[in-house]
Amino acid sequence: MKVSLRWLRDYVDFDLSAADLARRLTEQLTETEVVESAGSDITGVVAAKVITVDRHPDADRLSVCVVDWGAGSSTVVCGAPNVKPGMMSALAVPGAVIAGGRKVEEVTLRGRRSHGMLVSARELGLEEHSDGILEFEAAVEVGTDVRGILGLDDEVIDVDVQPNRPDCLGIIGIAREVAAAVGSKLRIPEVDLTEVDPGAPELAAVEIEDVQDCPRYIARVISDVEIGPSPAWLRTRLESVGLRSISNVVDVTNFVMLEFGHPIHAFDYDTVREHRIVVRRATAGERLTTLDGVERELSPKHLLICDGRGPVAAAGVMGGGGTEVGDSTKNVLLECAWFDPVVVRRGAQDLGIRTDASQRFERGVDPLAMELVAARACALMNELAQGKVARGIVDAGSWKAPATTIELHMEKLESMLAPGPPKEKAAAELASLGFGVSDGPDDSLRVEVPSFRHDVRLEADLIEEVARVDGYDKIRPEVPFHSIAVTTDPARAARDAVREAVVGLGFHEILTSSFMERDALEKLGESTGDEAIELANPMNKEMPLLRTSILPSLLDVVRRNANVGEGDIRIFEIGKVFRRAGEGADERWMLAGALAGAAEPPAWDRQARPVDFYDGKGVLWALGEALSVDSLGTACYDGSALDGTAAARLLAGGRDVGAFGMLSPKVIEARDLPPSVFVFDIELDPLVGLLAATGTFADLPRYPKARRDVALVVDERTSAGNILGEIDSSEEPLLTGVDVFDVYRGKQVPGGKKSIGFTLTYMSRERTLTDAEVDEAQARIVARLVEKFGASLRE
């Protein structure tokens, strides 16, 4: 809500600069800032009296004038048709700056020197079009800076009015806050109305179909109006807050709305058929062309203002074109009503428009100010457009806001605001905001809530009123000690542990969108199925689903980084995925990651090697080790996003928890990804149970380990895992570990065969082992493998 300080001073006296006022309101009401005013950049333009006007000898349309501007007389060349001797206008002296930052210099026009320029309203930024130079109506003193005369030296503040304070969508509401802030008195304009016969009820009628929608509707009739431009003071008022001046009658409706915060509407009385207003819901398919020229289709959710035949306005939202006040309007029917906030809100939402009116009605206007608001508008129409105000009002409905009285207990106030102001001060603060305050029982105040403050309903609301007027800085900050046992959610702790471990393995954490394209998984060769949850109103129509997998957005991050030259990638995300689960939704935590580019950081003594399956698998098993999850295993991968020859399902504690492997070449091609990408996608919740919070201590071994290597030549089909499993099942009591140290294919082994080298580790917790017993155990195992796999020993 923009507020001109000059305008504000009509209702309240204060001795503050714009900046200080903005700060004061910020501290008491809501965030307020000073905005640039329209004429702030205009300098050097003064009131000047035109003394003589002569035709320019060499140009028909130009005049050569002598003007008196206080400090002297100047000769200027003027092209305006309305220039005449004796008129009071505005002179931009050489060096002056006018609208748009234009600088005025001495110029020669057709051989005549012009020492400055007589300016129009347009040239001062007041109007979009001007027919001639500015003419001041009132007697002004020559040489006066025109900014003062035109109100261009006004300052404007912008108050960020919150939804609970519709009263502050009127300048009087803001003035009331200012009065409370500086301790001065609010002046509400008094209306002295001259009424004529016949009375309004004889000229018009109002019917309300449902008083739920419109509890009260007041109409007044103003006849014989002379439509014309508004006087300068009114134009300036409206322009100072960013509204355009249209005509005296329309400007009055806007002015009064801005003044009281209550929207009113002027109909051209003669176009209101049967001079009858009907407030009713629209029927399905009914149409109305609104003031903005758009034909709108309506439904029963819209409340309409109709005349005797059909719709003339969308109630509380926008008027209709057919009854608009225009140049030929003679008589005006003025509406001042109270529409149901929810109805107005839904109607405006449905039409997709938000107007100054709808914004105020949907927050709730003051029901008790209606007669004053309507009278104020009538008085101004009488004053500015010479309209005759018909006696009385046409009044339909009878709603008045129920009076709310709240007891404010000082004990409660003190305990909440410690220390809190004394009772008399609290009472004065509430009274300054318009509350009716009297003594209540048991050290309390009985507070009557004014009709424009329907946001105040509870004692807590009053405490806030006192607190903010008194100043939040009066409250004593305290940090008391409270002892409350704090517990930690094990699932969250587990996710934190996983994150630490993955970062420790050299990965950067990323956070990507929860939204997903409809065919995101199809693009990876997978199917979305019907599990995905769809948004009813996605922001980006391309991304309507809640993600069921992190992989699509993860791969986008891989691609984007590769495209900017960051191709060596180790990234991961810990995030939620969403699935339908019956009527509800299943939200699951996932760990997804990717490796791409070089397997190792570049170094001067090694060749860059692209990431392969074993790099990624190593990361996962290292992660298992870091988290003390030693029961990792693999199972067959049957999806399509990954390369079937280099991918597996991941088992943890025997349970399938996800997949990992190299991305399939098809996906790499289709998604424009770097050549080799390893990904993993793991469900986190099942891991929580496997994460041992603390290890169990066993005595450290006191005797040395013995190692024996063996290289077995086996069929290509035989996997390392088969052999490791067999070694494991030998159950040799001294065997404590097995590692693969070498895999070889080539000249030294026959075709179709490979050699795998194993290091077996033996240890006893009781004694140092002898070579002989280690050799024997090793021999038993080797024999077993030779027999099982038809292996031979490689020398």
Binding site: P163, S483, I484, L511, I569, K576, P601
Partner: protein, 336 residues
């Protein structure tokens, strides 16, 4: 004899110290310290000397041998250094072989920092679903249907009742419904707003919500705790301002500003010349919220606060576009 040995020593020292190449040095070594060298012969001939002379000569031979060995070592080092380092030496200026270095997302690090400060103030972490219903996200928080306050939350809807949470406040409701006071929690997490992202607004971002409910909780405690928190985060000296605000679920409500860290309160474009930057919204829990969760508003009072995690980090590191947090450009992640 002794005289000769002294002569030998002088020659050998000169030869070792003056050797210009490894070959020269090796030749000198063979000549003066080798098996057939005069010194070696002298030591072998000791047994033929008379008793008293043998002792003196023997001591001299040993002293000279030790002295020459030291000169030989020094000469070897000198020549190797001159050769620019032999194969066995380390060039300290070559880069080392680095492992990959990772890092947590700045949002995660900020959350961890906030959580640890609040843990120190006795707050426990609570969580809730991202898919919420109208009751928990709005109604229980005193935002009835068709209330203009809903305009403050552009909401993603799934169907009539279900929506993506627009703030972490529904976690308050869930926690209060499941526990009796005292309740002292923070609820960090991702929230969603259906607004077109720009430099200062994301459609997905992170909030941290705090709630404390007990008997006799005062507004001053809220101010004290938040001042303490901001002091921990930005340094004790940071100026903090509490001013009125509007949130349907708190009454009184306050917006909390800190002194602009760019201009230190003098006024600059970042703080729109006010000297202050808004960081938190807070207030005393509205009695209507207590009614919605079944707490007796005549018995309990409490405070709640909320802050934008992304924003805290932006202020800390001078990041000028909130969208960077979700683009995950590695160059950004490594920087901040």
């Amino acid at each position: 004899m002794i005289e000769r040995l002294k002569e030998l020593r002088g020659e050998a020292v000169a030869a070792f110290d003056g050797a210009a190449s490894p070959q020269e040095l090796e030749e000198a070594r063979v000549r003066y310290l080798g098996r057939k060298s005069e010194l070696n012969q002298a030591s072998r001939g000791l047994k033929d000397l008379p008793e008293d002379e043998r002792r003196a000569v023997g001591r001299a031979v040993n002293e000279i041998k030790n002295e020459l060995a030291a000169h030989l070592t020094a000469a070897t080092d000198r020549l190797e250094a001159a050769a620019g380092g032999a194969a066995s030496s380390v060039d300290l200026t070559l880069p080392g072989r680095r492992p990959w270095v990772g890092g947590k997302h700045p949002i995660t690090r900020t959350l961890e920092r906030l959580e640890s400060i609040f843990a120190g103030l006795g707050f426990e972490v609570a969580t809730g679903p991202h898919i919420e219903d109208d009751f928990h996200n709005f109604e229980a928080l005193n935002i009835p249907p068709d209330h203009p306050a809903r305009d403050m939350h552009d909401t993603f809807y799934i169907d009539g009742d279900r929506l993506l949470r627009t703030h972490t406040s529904p976690v308050q409701i869930r926690t209060m419904k499941s526990r009796k006071p005292p309740v002292r929690i923070i609820a960090p997490g991702r929230v969603y707003r259906n607004e077109t992202p720009d430099a200062s607004h994301g459609s997905e971002f992170y909030q941290l919500e705090g709630l404390y409910v007990d008997r006799g909780v005062r507004f001053g405690e809220l101010m004290g705790v938040l001042t303490k928190f901001l002091g921990e985060l930005y340094g004790e000296a940071i100026a903090v301002r509490f001013r009125p605000g509007f949130f349907p679920f708190t009454e009184p409500s306050t917006e909390v500003d800190i002194e602009c860290r760019i201009c230190h309160g003098r006024g600059c474009p970042v703080c729109k010349n006010t000297g202050w930057v808004e960081l938190l919204g807070a207030g005393m829990v509205d009695p209507r919220v207590f009614e919605a969760v079944g707490y007796d508003p005549d018995v309990y009072t409490g405070y709640a606060f909320g802050l934008g995690v992304d924003r805290i980090h932006m202020m800390m590191c001078g990041v000028n576009d909130i969208r960077l947090y979700h683009e995950n450009d590695l160059r950004f992640l490594r920087q901040v």
